[in-house]
C-alpha cells in the first residue's frame, strides 16, 4: 500500500517537474527534480537537474549582459565592466572578453583625460599633450587634438603644434591664435597673419602682437628683397601687408616689388602677367604706369590681337614721349609719328577682322588721336602744360579733365573758331561718355548716358546739345519721328553750331524715301514754326514738294491736294524749281483730266476752250491727240450720215485751238474728200 502511494507521489512530482521544465521554469523544475531525486534514485533525474542548472546559468548570463549594456549606455564603465566580467565567467565567450578589454582601455583613457587636464592646469604641457592624445581614443578626436596642439604650443614645441593644427578641419579662436603664434615663432609671419584673420575678437594685447608680427614680416620682406629672392613670391605678400595695414612705408616696398617683378616678367615676355599687376585698382596712374601699360598693351596687341589697352594708353604715352637724349622737336615729332603709325597699323589690322568692338576701338583711336594732335598744337612749347596732354578717358581717370577744360577755355582765342574749342572741350567734359557712344554710332546708349541735370559749363552744354541733335537726326534717318522734346535743342544746336545747320540741310537733301521725307517734313515744320529761317524754309519747301510728287506719282493723293501742298511749298520758297515743275505738271494733269471729262460728255467746244486757254502745250497736245483719235477712219465709220457733221464740229474745235495744227489739216482734207465724193 505504502509502496503504491510512494510511487504515485514520485510520478506526480516528476510530472510537475516536467511541466515546469517544458514551460522553461527551470528553477521550479530543478526543485521538483531534486525532490524526486531524494525519494528515489530514478534514472534521468540527475541529467535533468544538470540541464536545469545550465539553463539557469545561461539566463543569469543574459541578465548580466543586459545590465552591462545598460551601464555602458549610461557611460558607467566600471559597473558595465563588472557585469561583463561576471557574464564572461559564466559563458566564457570570446566577444565578452574583447568587450571587457575595450572597456578596461576606456576606463584607463578616461583617467588619461582627467590626468591631461590636471597636467595642463599645473603647467606640465608636454605631459598633458601626451595624455590628450591617449584620451583621444575615447573622446572626440577633434577636441583632444585641439587640446594637444594647444599644449604643444604652450610647451614651445611649435613645429609639432603646427603639424597637429594642420591636420584639423576647423580651428576655434584659441586654436587660431596658437596656430598663428606657432607660425610666427617659426618665422612664418605671412601665414601667421592669415591664420589670425579668423579671430573676430581683438584684445589690445593681441593688436599689439599682431602689429609686431606685421613689422617682423615687413623686415623679412626687405631682407628677402635684398637677397633678390623671387619677386613673384614677395609681391603678393607685400601687397597683402599693404592692404591689411596702415603702414605708409609699405607703399614703397610694394612699388619696388611690383616694378622688380614687372622688369623680370618683361624680360620673360610675360605680358599678360604684367597687365594683371598693372590692373591693380589701388595703383596711382602716373607717367611710369601709363608707359608700362602702353608698352605691355602694344606687345599684347602684337601677340594676341587684344587692342583695348593699346588704344587707351598708347596715345598718352607717345604724346608724352621723353627720349633719353635731348633731341629736337622735329625729331621728337618724327619718333612720335612713327610710333603712332605702328600702333595704328596694329589697331586697323585687328579692326579689319570685323568685330564691332574692335571697329569701335579704331573709331575711338582716331578721335583721341585727333584730339591729342589739336591739344599738342595748342600747348606748343608750353612745358608747364605738358602733363595735360592726355586723352579724355585718361584725363578722367587722373582727375585732370577740369584742368584741361580750364586750359581750353583760357586759350579759346587760339582756336580757328569758338565752336572748335567747344567741340574739343566737350570730350573732356561730363558729356564724354555720351559723345564716345555717339562716335561709335551707338545713339541709344549715347542719349541714355546723358545726365538730366543742367550743364555745368559751356563745353558740357555743347556736348549735350550735340548728342540730343544727333540722336534726333538718327531718329529721322531710321524712319522715326524727331523726339518732340528735342525740337528746342535742335534750334539751340543750330545757333551754337551754324556749320551743323548746313551739314544737316545737305544730308536732308539726299533723302528720297517717302517715309523719311514725312518725318523730316514734320520736324522741319515744327522747327520752322519755332525759328523760321530762309535756309530751313527752303529745305522744308524742297522736302514737302519732293514728298508730294512721290505721293502724286503713286496716286496716293489727288492732284488737287498735291496742288495745294505745292503752292504751300512755293510760299516757303518761291524759287523752288521742283515745286514749280510739280505744279506745272499737276496743272497739265488737271486740265487734261478736265478735257477728257468734257470729251466724254461730247462738250467739244468747252474742251477746245480749255486747250486754247491753257499755257501748257502738253494740254493742247493731249487735246489734239484725242481729236486725232476720234477722227480716225475706223472711228468715223460709226457715224454714217452724220460723219460730215461730226467732222465739221471737230474741225471747228480744232481751229479754235490751232488753225494750223496738222490735225486741223487732216480733218479739212477729210471734209473735202467727203464733199468730192458727194459731188
Amino acid at each position: 500500500m505504502f509502496m503504491k502511494n510512494s510511487t504515485q507521489d514520485i510520478e506526480s512530482i516528476l510530472a510537475t517537474a516536467e511541466k515546469f521544465f517544458n514551460k522553461g521554469n527551470y528553477q521550479q523544475a530543478k526543485k521538483q527534480f531534486e525532490l524526486a531525486g531524494k525519494t528515489s534514485d530514478l534514472k534521468g533525474v540527475k541529467e535533468k537537474i544538470l540541464v536545469c542548472d545550465q539553463e539557469l546559468q545561461s539566463i543569469r548570463a543574459k541578465d548580466l549582459l543586459k545590465r552591462a549594456r545598460k551601464h555602458a549606455g549610461k557611460e558607467h564603465s566600471q559597473k558595465a565592466l563588472q557585469c561583463f566580467e561576471k557574464a564572461y565567467q559564466i559563458t566564457r565567450e570570446d566577444w565578452i572578453r574583447e568587450k571587457i578589454e575595450e572597456l578596461q582601455a576606456g576606463v584607463a583613457n578616461q583617467d588619461a583625460y582627467a590626468s591631461a587636464q590636471k597636467a595642463e592646469m599645473s603647467g606640465e604641457f608636454l605631459q598633458a599633450a601626451k595624455l590628450y592624445e591617449q584620451a583621444s581614443a575615447v573622446h572626440s578626436l577633434q577636441d583632444m587634438f585641439l587640446r594637444k596642439a594647444c599644449c604643444l604650443a604652450k610647451a614651445e614645441n611649435y613645429e609639432e603644434a603646427i603639424e597637429v593644427y594642420q591636420q584639423l578641419d576647423t580651428l576655434d579662436c584659441e586654436a587660431s591664435y596658437y596656430y598663428g603664434f606657432s607660425l610666427a615663432k617659426m618665422g612664418r609671419y605671412y601665414e601667421c597673419l592669415q591664420a589670425w584673420e579668423r579671430l573676430n575678437s581683438q584684445p589690445t594685447d593681441f593688436i599689439v602682437q599682431k602689429k609686431n608680427v606685421q613689422s617682423l614680416l615687413t623686415v623679412d620682406l626687405y631682407d628677402r628683397l635684398k637677397r633678390n629672392e623671387d619677386f613673384a613670391e614677395i609681391y603678393p605678400i607685400a601687397k597683402y601687408l599693404q592692404d591689411t595695414t596702415t603702414d605708409q612705408n609699405l607703399a614703397d616696398l610694394v612699388d619696388v616689388c611690383r616694378y622688380a617683378l614687372i622688369q623680370k616678367l618683361w624680360v620673360n615676355e610675360q605680358y599678360e602677367a604684367i597687365q594683371t599687376l598693372l590692373n591693380d585698382a589701388s595703383l596711382e596712374i602716373n607717367k611710369t604706369i601709363i608707359d608700362l601699360y602702353a608698352k605691355t598693351s602694344f606687345k599684347l596687341a602684337e601677340t594676341s590681337g587684344n587692342i583695348v589697352g593699346l588704344s587707351l594708353y598708347w596715345l598718352n604715352a607717345v604724346f608724352n614721349l621723353e627720349p633719353e637724349k635731348p633731341i629736337t622737336r622735329e625729331a621728337k615729332d618724327k619718333i612720335r609719328q612713327k610710333l603712332l603709325c605702328q600702333a595704328e597699323a596694329l589697331i586697323s589690322k585687328v579692326a579689319s577682322s570685323g568685330k564691332e568692338s574692335e571697329k569701335n576701338e579704331l573709331i575711338i583711336w582716331s578721335l583721341e588721336k585727333a584730339l591729342l594732335n589739336d591739344l599738342y598744337s595748342l600747348f606748343a612749347d608750353q612745358e608747364s602744360f605738358a602733363h595735360l596732354l592726355l586723352t579724355p578717358r585718361l584725363a578722367r581717370k587722373q582727375n585732370k579733365s577740369d584742368e584741361i577744360l580750364q586750359f581750353i577755355q583760357d586759350h579759346q582765342q587760339d582756336f580757328s573758331e569758338k565752336e572748335a574749342s567747344l567741340k574739343m572741350g566737350s570730350y573732356y567734359s561730363l558729356s564724354m561718355q555720351s559723345l564716345y557712344h555717339l562716335e561709335q554710332a551707338a545713339y541709344e546708349k549715347s542719349i541714355a548716358c546723358l545726365t538730366n541735370e543742367n550743364a555745368r559749363n559751356e563745353f558740357e552744354e555743347y556736348g549735350m546739345q550735340r548728342v540730343n541733335f544727333v540722336y534726333g537726326q538718327y531718329c529721322l534717318e531710321s524712319g522715326k519721328s524727331w523726339p518732340k522734346k528735342l525740337i528746342n535743342t535742335a534750334i539751340s544746336w543750330f545757333e551754337l553750331s551754324p556749320s551743323e545747320e548746313s551739314t544737316f540741310i545737305n544730308k536732308a537733301l539726299g533723302i528720297f524715301d517717302e517715309e523719311k521725307l514725312l518725318h523730316y517734313e514734320e520736324f522741319l515744320t515744327a522747327f520752322h514754326k519755332r525759328r523760321s529761317s530762309a535756309s530751313i524754309g527752303k529745305l522744308l519747301s524742297t522736302i514737302m514738294s519732293r514728298r508730294v510728287m512721290i505721293l502724286h506719282n503713286s496716286e496716293t493723293i489727288s492732284p488737287k491736294i498735291a496742288q495745294a501742298i505745292l503752292k504751300k511749298a512755293l510760299q516757303l520758297d518761291p524759287d523752288n524749281e521742283l515745286a514749280h515743275s510739280g505744279l506745272k505738271f499737276n496743272e497739265i494733269v488737271l486740265k487734261t483730266q478736265e478735257i477728257d471729262t468734257l470729251f466724254n460728255r461730247c462738250k467739244f467746244n468747252k474742251a477746245s476752250k480749255i486747250a486754247s486757254q491753257s499755257e501748257h502745250q502738253e494740254v493742247r497736245d493731249h487735246f489734239f491727240q484725242f481729236i486725232d483719235a476720234i477722227t480716225d477712219e475706223d472711228h468715223l465709220d460709226r457715224f454714217g450720215e452724220e460723219r460730215n457733221l461730226f467732222l465739221k464740229e471737230c474741225y471747228e474745235c480744232t481751229v479754235t485751238v490751232d488753225p494750223y495744227h496738222p490735225v486741223a489739216e487732216k480733218i479739212s482734207d477729210l471734209l473735202e474728200g467727203s464733199y468730192e465724193t458727194i459731188r
Binding site: 609671419y189 609686431n212 619718333i335
Partner: protein, 91 residues
Amino acid sequence: MNPYKILGANPNMTQRDILQAAALAMRTKLYSAQEIAIAQKELMNPITKASHDFIHFIEVPISCDEFLERPYCEISSPTDLKRLSCFDKKI
C-alpha cells in the same frame, strides 16, 4: 619685329657695336640675312632706333639696389613674441 633680339644688341650700343652685332648675327645664322639687314638699318637710324627703344624696353622708377633702408621694428626677432592667454579656454 624686334631688331634688338635679332642682332642680340642693347640700346646703349654705338653704331659700330651694331655693325659688329649684325656681322655676328650673320655668322650665327639664327635669322635670315634680310631680317638682319632690316634690323641693322632700323637701329642705325636714330628715329627708328628711338621708336624701337620705346617699344622694346621699359623703365622702372625704383631699382632694388637703391632700396636700402631697413624699416624700424619694435622687436627684433620672433623670440621676443610673448604668448598671450587672452584666447585661452577654461579647462
